[in-house]
Symmetry: C2
Subunit: 149 residues, 2 copies
Amino acid sequence: MKRLGLKSEPCSIARTLSIIGERWTVLILRECFRNISRFDGFEAALKIPRAILADRLKMLVAEGVLEKQQDKDHARRFSYVLTQKGLDLRPILLTMLAWGDKHLQPGPPPKEVEHLPCGHTITPVLCCPECHGELDANNTRVINSTRRL
Amino acid sequence: MKRLGLKSEPCSIARTLSIIGERWTVLILRECFRNISRFDGFEAALKIPRAILADRLKMLVAEGVLEKQQDKDHARRFSYVLTQKGLDLRPILLTMLAWGDKHLQPGPPPKEVEHLPCGHTITPVLCCPECHGELDANNTRVINSTRRL
DNA sequence: TTTTTAAGTTCATTTTTTGAACCTGTCAAT
DNA sequence: ATTGACAGGTTCAAAAAATGAACTTAAAAA
């Protein structure tokens, strides 16, 4: 992995990509959200090469996205669990899910995310926190030129 | 690029990653949203190797994310512009931007996305379209096990 | 006591990425 | 009409990264 160049870039998208800009990393995180937490669990779920998995887990722990915890019953057994920083990645995965459902899915987009407080089965939408209007490419502008979008 | 395995996966996140699961591709799209559209424009903005840029543009056109248009004044000059499918990727980039601002930024997270209809400068949030409640890792559940989140 | 397991590491091979040089038609200026 | 620059690539060799199989190691289970 080469990530050092990106981390110092003056753009939050580029910096975010320094962590999740690689498919295996995102798939590992997807499994974390499914409550997979052990090395062999990721391996079984993803058929990822062990060397890559070890490398990515190490990176995610170093970045504070996952925390490595020791199982208290078994001395040589560990859990990788999402930190708050990691949990905060969920909107990114949900947005990817919604886009894939809409554009890469044969047939109508399924709505299979449940919002627990209201009980509705929904497709998540990105909104303005002030007026709750939906955000898209036409009604948003990124202001600061240093982050360049 | 090896993407064929992922495209047929039974998970919309994995399928989405078959297109944007690589950092250069996302950075190219970021530039598209900044209205960069020509080959040399991407090159100047990103310092990306030309062979990679050519490969990724070809892929994005083949996937229907970008459209290659001929400049009508100059015969040998082209524009790569976002299709609706491509424009629909903006929420993913905005969500990445918000996460990077919150977690990879020294200092307080800047709010620099302007929602044009209401005029507020905001941090985009992922919401339930039914009740407008904010979505996060604790209050959402993905139902269909085939898409695995 | 032997076997199995979890969580890696090592290593040779294959695949990608990278950067530099080259190509090729068009446009503008001389 | 010739020259030179330019846009948008392609080609190539070297470097880096991914892959898959085999090996490691301590602890737990049989």
